[in-house]
Amino acid sequence: MTKQIPKLLKDAMENNTVDVDVLSKHLKIPWIKLDIKIPNLDIPISTEDWREKWGFKDLDKNSYQVNQWNGNLLFGPTEWQKFLDKANQLGEQIDEDCKCRLFRKQFKYDWYIEKDNVVRKAISKIFPDDDLNLVNTYTLPPGGWLFPHRDYGSDDLGLNKIYVAVKWGKGNVFGMYGCGNIPIEQGDVILLNNYSLPHWVYNGSDDDRIVLDISANLKSKNISEVIQRSFINKFS
């Protein structure tokens, strides 16, 4: 093979690595299962009204869109009402992850749970606080659902949400249109693209379904290595 090759080709061949920015912003694949496991975490069912917390106009918890779906805020903006006033100017369609990502530098963010909380300790092992935008639970008791919908961001992201199946009994469904159901088992950690395709969840098990949702800087050292490794493993 000749060594006289164009510089562009040479540079590309020498420097091309798995780039988290490219994976998250340009690849619209629906999910990647990450090669990590989160230890069993004891997370209670949400007591907070997630929709009321975010000022969603339709406050009917058992409305057409959701049935008993809920969540607790664990990490996020501390000046909540100020943040919400600003974030909701973006419109209701922009999802919570994106709102927290967009205003990360404008507001102070911190944990809503104690330092010795097991969830906080588990997440802090992977992410420094500065790389977190939002951490929350999503909880769904047996028979609960989240209707088919698509989430919207403002920054054209694809893979974005780190989705930890903390408690996921047999009979739980996470459907992704055109892709079948995501093969999730308890303890799995998924990098999820909730922006490109309609999706839905249903708890057909006999137990509560508990999920940890993490919006973070995916270029954060620990997680970017996991994403790169997981991508190579899946597509090699």
Binding site: Y64, P148, Y152, G153, D155, D156, Y177, L197, P198
Partner: protein
């Protein structure tokens, strides 16, 4: 296929009448202040759901409002805003307008003139809704 349409109307004395149709089927209704119409119409794979305002009365100023549409027991939700209303203006009224009103309105769920509101639909309905989400360009 089952079609359920929830209407609200405004009128003084002249109750609005409408004709609900698909390409190959249809039925007419006298509406009340609020009325939910349940019908079973033939729906082909690529079809058109139409609602024609039959008796617009300019003196009464009666109005038909479409509040929701279910097809095959599925709520079309906000996708009903994709419907287009093409009014057949009263000639005398139209001639006096300057500038002229538009030939069609979308989004539009209030029928304030004689004319036909229509929505392109395809079956299966669940798949139509998923495809509309995929093709929704709301995201920047």
């Amino acid at each position: 296929m089952k079609i359920k349409i929830e209407f609200e109307t405004e009128y003084k004395k002249v109750k609005p009448k409408c004709h609900v149709s698909t390409i190959n089927d249809g039925a007419s209704f006298d509406l009340e202040k609020t009325l939910t119409v349940d019908i079973d119409l033939v729906v082909v794979e690529n079809d058109n759901l139409s609602i024609e305002f039959l008796n617009k009365d300019d003196n009464d100023d009666n109005v038909i409002k479409i509040k929701s549409i279910h097809i095959d027991d599925i709520n079309l939700q906000h996708f009903i805003y994709k419907g287009v209303f093409r009014p057949a203006y009263n000639n005398e009224w139209y001639s006096k307008q300057d500038p002229k009103p538009p030939s069609e309105y979308t989004p539009c769920l209030e029928l304030r003139h004689h004319g036909i509101w229509s929505l392109e639909i395809s079956t299966p309905i669940w798949k139509m809704i998923m495809e509309q989400w995929i093709n929704d360009k709301t995201d920047s």
